[in-house]
């Protein structure tokens, strides 16, 4: 089990960020995701595994300085 934006979400062994985002609509708007305190950007979504019990945050839009 993981939490995504504070809500419980199912988890399975080998789940990547890309897999997780497939469960959300308009997921193309997420270019960055935070797993616990680490930011992961889209180029790494496919190869980044989400550990069990993670706190995941989908960062809505990177707005810059």
């Amino acid at each position: 089990m993981i939490r995504v934006n504070g809500k419980k979400h199912f988890w399975y062994e080998g789940m990547t960020i890309k897999d997780l985002l497939n469960n959300f609509n308009k997921s193309h708007l997420y270019a960055v995701v935070r797993i616990n305190d680490k930011h992961i950007s889209r180029p790494y979504f496919e190869k980044t595994l989400i550990p069990d019990n993670s706190e995941v945050f989908l960062i809505p839009m990177v707005a810059g300085g």
Binding site: N5, G6, K26, H28, L29, A31, V32, R34, D37, K38, H39, S41, R42, P43, Y44, F57, I59, P60, M61, V62, A63, G64, G65
Partner: protein, 713 residues
């Protein structure tokens, strides 16, 4: 503590007006040549057209200077203003000031926004804006005391030069036991000896019991301040509540303020965590998308970038509340406690460092090939203390380093310094030399535009090559984002009024990562709406970060998520609640348009503001050198083949660079056409008569100026 003396030269007593719906309805003018203080009324017409903040500053500056005024002429004014909403404690990010002057780097108008308490304290003391003209042979301190209703000019001697010590001393001198009542504006020795001096604005941190700093960094405003002989400007004001600004509708204001504050408190921890890590989260993100400038904007990525990212600064920042204005729940202005510099006058002494923010990390770190947080923090500390802009220092030093590595300059020019990328001690020594006005640091301190001229004239360096790799436009150094793959952001920098600073438009992600604006018309629309909306914050005394660095959870389901329209509508309600003037989201854009176009015309008045002045160096558009192209050959080859239908078989890298350049430069010119059209400008980038009439800025002087440039109805 240094022995110092403060001799009162003049006291000007006044009756403090009651603040009405966010306005004091008058401005303060101090002529330090003749030691004359006067007050000017703010008319309804001025409020209607210019709103406040930067708008008021520009109007005062326009009337102070003529078309031949240079930055160091006595009539050049330093104008500082907050805005009608400035000083509101219940709405996040409501304490900004904006400073304008004629810049030593660009020769035209510069504006720089900054946190700290000064702007609100100035307004509550009875003045919507401050205009300082003239020059003093002896150092002066200007004191605006809203509590005792007096403005005082002191001749000062024996005060320390550096901003760090100076602000602490002056806070104590004026505070009468209440340091939170004081805000000091000052600069340091670097501002005297370079063209890239900044101003430090203080806010008093009650928990840490010290004056903290924010910087009006861009364009060398600190140099104008120092050249005038101003040691500091100090404002004193008392307790601030929502009532202090006397809003038209306090109930609605509290409601909308609470909504935005609550959202920030609830969502920032889930989103960017700016209350914990400031803007440092951008470092790894920019790096991942090949947008973090490294080695003078040659590349956008480096394997060591994680060493200077948010994970490191999360551990280094001193935890606690870091709001640069009262009640800002985003509170992103972090600092480092008990930092011990390894070099310079504070070597071995524990200091508190305000920062670093993303721009400083990229400018004084990755862009110099430095991936060591300690060096970056030390550069940050000394730049602030010496009164230097970390962005111009970083981008100028990066240019000098690349010239050194390419052999355009060598150790005989640098005074024996090895200016290779990554040389941390050399980078620090450059900053110390800037402060002392010595050695090669002094030459770097003149900025990229001047360096190009000096290196070519005195050292025989290739001017065309330096034109391509010298990251300045309009004379101002680029801030720290890579734009090669985002045409919209090339426009965001090149078409910005003051020069390439990202505060007008930050479109890289929307354009490059999200592909929200594939057509020219869409890019032009974005280069209209975003600069206008961002300008609006500077008219009102607001910080833009709470607008789009925290976004509502349902924002992605709105038709235009990038605009965060729910917040824009809150801002319209906020404006109406304070000023009593009804407005809408579109109304905010219309307010900015008048000021924005006026500033463009101000550039024209100063001899700039036309199409040719919106050019950018080719490094901002694409790869200049073979190594740059070859490092991303797959990307560039693919674009030549798929986007431009070129058969690249058998072509050398040089040939491919030349072809790509032709396409990209052409696209940039087409972008200019589309943006000028959208903004209501001629093809030469000048606002048309219809535009100035529609916006109510058709003053006789404006029409005359347009006519002189061939623009008539």
């Amino acid at each position: 503590m240094a022995e110092y003396k403060m001799k009162s030269l003049m006291v000007f007593n006044y009756d403090r007006p009651v603040i009405e719906k966010g306005y004091a309805n008058q401005t303060l003018c101090i002529d330090i040549s003749d030691v004359v203080i006067s007050v000017k009324p703010v008319t309804e017409k001025i409020k209607n057209v210019f709103i406040g903040g930067k708008g008021f500053d520009l109007w005062l500056l326009w009337n102070a200077v003529n078309s031949t005024t240079t930055w160091s002429d006595p009539e050049n004014a330093i104008c500082i203003a907050s805005g009608p909403m400035g000083g509101t404690p219940v709405y996040p990010g409501s304490g900004k000031s904006i400073v304008t002057t004629i810049s030593p780097l660009t020769g035209s108008v510069i504006d720089s926004n900054v946190g700290g308490y000064f702007g609100p304290y100035l307004k509550f003391s009875g003045f919507d804006a401050l205009e300082v003209t003239g020059k003093s042979l002896k150092d002066v301190v200007l004191f605006i005391d809203g509590i005792d209703e007096k403005v005082q000019i002191f001749e000062a001697s024996g005060l320390p030069d550096d901003s760090y010590a100076l602000s602490a001393i002056l806070t104590k001198y004026f505070d009468r036991g209440k340091p939170r009542n004081i805000s000091v504006v000052s600069t340091g020795p670097g501002a005297k000896n370079t063209r890239m001096g900044c101003l430090n604005f203080t806010w008093y941190d009650l928990k840490r019991k010290r004056a903290r700093y924010k910087q009006a960094g861009r364009g060398g405003i600190g140099g104008v301040f120092a050249d005038k002989g101003i040691k500091a400007i100090v404002a004193r004001w008392d307790t601030v509540t929502t009532k202090t600004n006397n809003p038209a509708d306090a109930t609605t204001l509290k409601e909308v303020g609470r909504k935005h504050s609550r959202e920030v408190v609830e969502l920032d921890p889930k989103q960017n965590q700016m209350a914990q890590i400031g803007t440092t989260h951008l470092v790894p993100i920019m790096n991942d998308f090949d947008l973090l400038p490294t080695h003078n904007f040659q590349y956008g990525q480096h394997s060591e970038a994680d060493n200077i990212g948010q994970e490191v600064f999360r551990r280094i920042f001193d935890p606690g509340y870091d709001g640069c204005w009262m009640g800002c729940t985003l509170a992103c202005s972090h600092g480092v406690k008990d930092f011990v510099p390894l070099t310079g006058p504070y070597k071995g002494i524990k200091v508190f460092v305000d920062g670093p923010e993303y721009e400083t990390i990229a400018g004084c770190g990755s862009n110099l090939g430095i991936f060591d947080p300690h060096t970056i923090i030390e550069m940050n500390f000394y730049c602030d203390t010496y009164g230097l802009d970390t962005i111009s220092v970083g981008t100028s030093t990066a240019f000098a380093m690349e010239c050194f590595e390419m052999g355009l300059i060598n150790e005989s020019h640098t005074g024996g310094m090895n200016l290779s990328f990554g040389n941390r001690l050399a980078a620090l020594e450059v900053v110390h030399q800037m402060a002392r006005g010595e050695g090669f640091g002094q030459i770097i301190g003149r900025g990229v535009r001047q360096m190009k001229m000096i290196f070519s004239r005195d050292y025989g360096a290739d001017p065309d090559l330096m034109q391509d790799i010298g990251m300045e436009a309009k004379g101002l150094e680029f801030s720290e984002y890579m734009t090669k793959e985002s045409l919209a952001q090339q426009g965001g920098y090149g078409l910005a009024l003051k020069g390439p600073q990202h505060d007008e438009a930050w479109l890289i992600f929307l354009d490059m990562v999200h592909n929200f604006m594939p057509t020219f018309e869409q890019k032009a629309e974005a280069l209209h709406w975003f600069p206008m909306f961002r300008t609006w914050f500077g008219l009102c005394g607001l910080c833009k970060l709470p607008w789009n660095d925290v976004v509502p959870e349902d924002n992605k389901d709105t038709p235009e998520p990038a605009k965060v329209m729910k917040h824009v509508e809150w801002y319209a309600d906020y404006y109406t609640a304070v000023t009593g003037r009804q407005t809408t989201a579109d109304g905010l854009i219309r307010m900015s348009e008048a000021v924005y176009n006026f500033q463009r015309i101000f550039n024209l008045k100063m001899g700039f503001g036309q199409r040719e002045h919106d050019n950018i160096p080719y490094r901002a558009m694409g790869p200049v050198k073979i190594v740059e192209y070859e490092s991303r050959a797959e990307r560039y080859d693919k674009q030549l083949v798929e986007k431009h239908n070129i058969d690249i078989t058998g072509k050398t890298t040089e040939e491919k660079i030349a072809l790509l350049r032709k396409f990209r430069e052409n696209l940039y010119e087409k972008l200019k056409d589309a943006v000028y059209k959208r903004r209501g400008w001629t093809s030469n980038g000048i606002p048309t008569i219809d535009t100035v009439k529609r916006l109510g800025i058709d003053f006789p002087e404006v029409l005359e100026l347009l006519k002189a440039h061939g623009v008539e109805s």
